[in-house]
Symmetry: C2
Subunit: 208 residues, 2 copies
């Protein structure tokens, strides 16, 4: 039954809602129909609360003046936290990576959210990203290290290299997150590039 397609909708409004849900990432038409029927069965107040939350997210959310992360205030909680190391700035693609890194509890510096990566195929150039504001932040002084934490795709690497060139003339250390064998992974199944990098960038042996 999983492969059958449901094509006939008894109502155009229902079909339009299914189409809207199906545009969400990872949602196929069957899941979208389940969501639409769920909304249809919900009390009006619950459906309104859902609509309101999504509408407010898109219209009312703000961005931190310093790091451009999503934020309700002018300066986000991380940038405003005086106990953090303001001399280290980690450059990430989006708020998602901020949350992932924050979740590790291993990083005490600040962030700079680019809002995307350079992608000529999608028409995204350096001018569409928060790169000028990063250069400005470094030029203003007070930053000792910029950590490039972009995904190791062609586009991520291009963006990292572009930023590296822009910051090369400043007195700032530029680092990148370590690539290597994931903890718990077998070396046998690692790709050659990752295994190669993990040998080149070997670190002192640590007991736990």
């Amino acid at each position: 039954m999983a492969s059958q397609s449901i094509q006939q909708y008894p109502s155009q409004l229902l079909e339009e809602a299914v189409n809207a849900f199906a545009k969400l990432p990872g949602i196929g038409r069957k899941s979208a129909l389940r969501m639409a029927l769920h909304v249809l069965r919900q009390p009006v107040e619950e459906a309104d609360a859902f609509v309101e939350a999504v509408h407010r997210l898109r219209h009312d959310v703000g961005y931190c003046e310093v790091c451009h992360n999503v934020s309700d205030a002018g300066v986000c909680g991380i940038c405003a936290d005086a106990s953090r190391d303001s001399r280290t700035v980690c450059v990430v693609e989006s708020v998602k990576e901020v949350m992932l890194i924050e979740n590790t509890g291993q990083y005490r510096g600040l962030y700079h959210v680019l809002g995307g990566i350079i992608s000529p195929i999608n028409g995204i150039g350096p001018g569409d990203l928060e790169i000028a504001s990063l250069v400005e932040r470094v030029a203003d002084g007070g930053v000792d290290e910029v950590v490039l934490a972009l995904n190791p795709t062609m586009e991520g690497d291009t963006t990292s290299f572009y930023i590296y060139r822009k910051l090369a003339d400043f007195d700032v250390k530029i680092t990148t997150i370590a690539r290597g064998i994931a903890i718990g992974d077998d070396m046998e199944y690692a790709d050659e590039v990752t295994l190669g990098r993990s040998i080149v960038n070997r670190v002192s042996y640590q007991t736990i």
Copy 2:
């Protein structure tokens, strides 16, 4: 990484939107976050179109006067279709089952959508469902057969039995969809009740 929980949100609006998405059926917190970030990256018009489609679904959708299926007009396309067999009425729980049955292309009668099933634990009694309107439809004449197509759960069976009792005094044939071994399934893995019913309700052998 799949089991990690993301708890710190940089924005309350983002958190509220994630909570809203996570209430959709089959959506966990990670998928909900991906959806919220997707909305955040979308052009405003696309996000507005999504919100509008969900809002209209809940507020503007109507129900067919005859069969109570979701419908944009007063009478739905199925009930209005003169080529269908109006003397056979299939009783289903919701619009989903109408779509599933329509999708088989094997049924040419009409429907009657109950809008739920009797469920004392959820406080849903016969009065909350479109049962009185079904009895009225049968009492008005013109119906030869009522096909009960509810799920074979305790609640579905209770609802079927309740409807059977209500219709017992009318001159109408009451049938139920066949239960048996699914096509392609191995008898070895069928449960005893299903296998038992499939033997009791055996049918003439057909080629193809």
